[in-house]
């Protein structure tokens, strides 16, 4: 099956940070959430797909095309919202959009106007005078006005009020209904993903932790709480990101069924996981590893 995005062993080396051979794929007509603690490499992945940072190694295919070799074709079919919303600030909203519009053969001015009205974007205001949320709305309106088949969003919901955030998520869900549009978005607000994402990819310290369907993750991962003696012996191998307290431990497990079988009748409690918890525990695990490496 051809994917909207196929990433193979993608590597990017910066001084002090390396994105380490990340691989995942986003099927057509799906929404994928990119999660992970700060500095995990989420923005780097999006920038690598857009080819605004150069990869050290690996392969990025968008619609089956190479993101560097077929750069123009790939980008003409991709809409994007970057974290910094880099528009020419001294232009008015209408002017800023018209500068960009000329680069897309499929630009739909009527659609842009409609989105501006729906987003309450003041078209005669200078971009510099817009709030962060409004700039984000402008970037979204631009990204959605040229019939893009892939939408890349870097922290699109940050700076947006809860009402518009929900509207945006509904809009994204609506977009993929045609079966050809796909969405990849990074976010810290994991509740947004629980609402709309079909797939979730998690990064930590530049490494891929997992990339799977949301349902698989919520079914397989869980939080385990139990007495400290469970950590010794074979059961201990089921746990990740263990935090010990005076009366027991809390940990993450990636195999809920096995944990349930193994821990039955041993005083452990297995709780349903939320994506928020997952990011927290994986972040904690990363810090624990760093501390262990220092020691």
């Amino acid at each position: 099956m051809e994917h909207a995005i196929e990433i193979q062993s993608l590597r990017k080396e910066y001084p002090g940070f390396t994105l380490k051979d990340v691989s995942f794929a986003l099927p057509h007509g799906a929404i994928m959430g990119l999660i992970g603690p700060n500095g995990a490499g989420k923005t780097t992945v999006i920038k690598l797909i857009l080819n605004i940072v150069r990869r050290t190694a690996g392969e990025v295919k968008v619609f089956g095309l190479d993101s560097i070799g077929d750069e123009e074709e790939v980008k003409s079919r991709t809409g994007f919202v970057l974290d910094e919303t880099p528009f020419y600030g001294y232009l008015k909203v209408k002017g800023a959009a018209s500068v960009i519009a000329r680069f897309y053969k499929t630009w739909d001015e009527a659609r842009f106007e409609k989105l501006c009205r729906e987003f309450d974007l003041p078209r005669r205001k200078r971009v510099n005078a817009l709030s962060r949320g409004m700039k984000m709305k402008l970037a979204l309106a631009v990204a959605l006005s040229h019939g893009a088949e892939l939408i890349l969003l870097d922290e699109p919901t940050s700076g947006l009020d809860p009402v518009f955030r929900r509207e945006l998520l509904e809009r994204l869900s609506g977009l993929i209904q045609d079966g050809r549009t796909s969405v990849l978005f990074s976010t810290h607000i994991t509740s947004d993903l629980e609402r709309v994402a079909d797939y979730i990819t998690c990064l930590r310290d530049g490494e891929l932790v997992f990339s799977a369907t949301r349902d698989e993750i919520l079914e397989n991962w869980a939080i385990v709480k139990g007495p400290p003696e469970l950590l010794d012996g074979e059961a201990g191998t089921l746990f990740r990101s263990v935090s010990r307290g005076p009366y027991g431990f809390t940990a993450l497990t990636a195999d809920k069924d096995k944990a349930e079988r193994f821990l039955a009748g041993q005083g452990a409690v297995i709780e349903r996981l939320r994506l928020d918890d997952l990011v927290f525990f994986l972040g904690q695990e990363g810090r624990q590893r760093e501390e262990a490496a220092r020691e």
């Binding site: 123009e72 910094e84 880099p86 528009f87």
Partner: protein, 226 residues
């Protein structure tokens, strides 16, 4: 490339209108003070060769829009080519304006007819290319901050060279030798007979400089992370 040129046109036309009065005042003053066509052409070329490329090449860094432009459906090489072409167009306009303006100034000490010769224009082009050849790759790679550092470093280097020339002792001072060589080269450029061979060599040097600078700029911008 036309899309990039159009983008540059949209942004540059306003800037040109803003800068035009200052530019005119500068050339009016220069034309009223300088009577040597050679000095005039050097000063004009350096001014145009420095200001025009900086205006266009550093815009994306100034407004932090490089990542926006490079996310649009356009190749990086096209972005560089577009900026390169736009810069040369504005250099042409800048030089043309400076010469025409000087021609119509009643108090200009230098006659435009003395400047409008194949040799003078080629020398002017050579000097502009020389400045642009340094600025293009440097600005593309290191951005606005980089070019400011380069200009400040050049000034500091000039001060150091002057100090070494004065306090380095005696006629055997290597700095003096270096300065004499530069002045000699410039004199040869300015006073050489405008033979066909000399003009062709100058033209070849201009083309080589432009091509080299463009290729280096292209390679550097291609590797830049935005």
């Amino acid at each position: 490339m036309l899309k990039i040129l159009r983008l540059e046109y949209l942004f540059t036309r306003k800037q040109i209108l803003i800068v035009l009065p200052m530019f005119s005042a500068y050339f009016a003053y220069m034309a009223s003070q300088i009577d040597s066509p050679r000095v005039f052409i050097i000063a004009t070329s350096l001014m145009v060769g420095l200001s025009m490329p900086l205006t266009i090449l550093a815009r994306e860094d100034k407004f932090k829009t490089a990542s926006l432009v490079c996310s649009l459906p356009v190749r990086r090489s096209t972005v560089v080519l577009g900026k390169f072409a736009a810069t040369w167009i504005t250099i042409g306009i800048g030089l043309g304006y400076a010469l025409l303006f000087t021609a119509v100034l009643p108090f200009a000490k230098v006659a435009v007819s003395e400047i409008l010769s194949a040799k003078t224009l080629l020398i002017s082009l050579f000097l502009v290319s020389l400045v642009f050849a340094v600025i293009l790759p440097f600005t593309l790679r290191f951005g606005l901050t980089g070019i400011i550092i380069l200009l400040v470093a050049c000034q500091l280097l000039g001060i150091v060279v002057l100090l070494l020339t004065h306090f380095g002792g005696g006629a055997r001072n290597p700095m003096r030798g270096l300065l004499r060589a530069i002045v000699g080269g410039l004199k040869t450029l300015l006073y050489h007979e405008p033979t066909a061979g000399f003009l062709l060599a100058l033209l070849a040097a201009v083309v080589a400089l432009i091509a080299l600078s463009f290729l280096v700029g292209l390679a550097l911008y291609g590797r830049r992370d935005l």
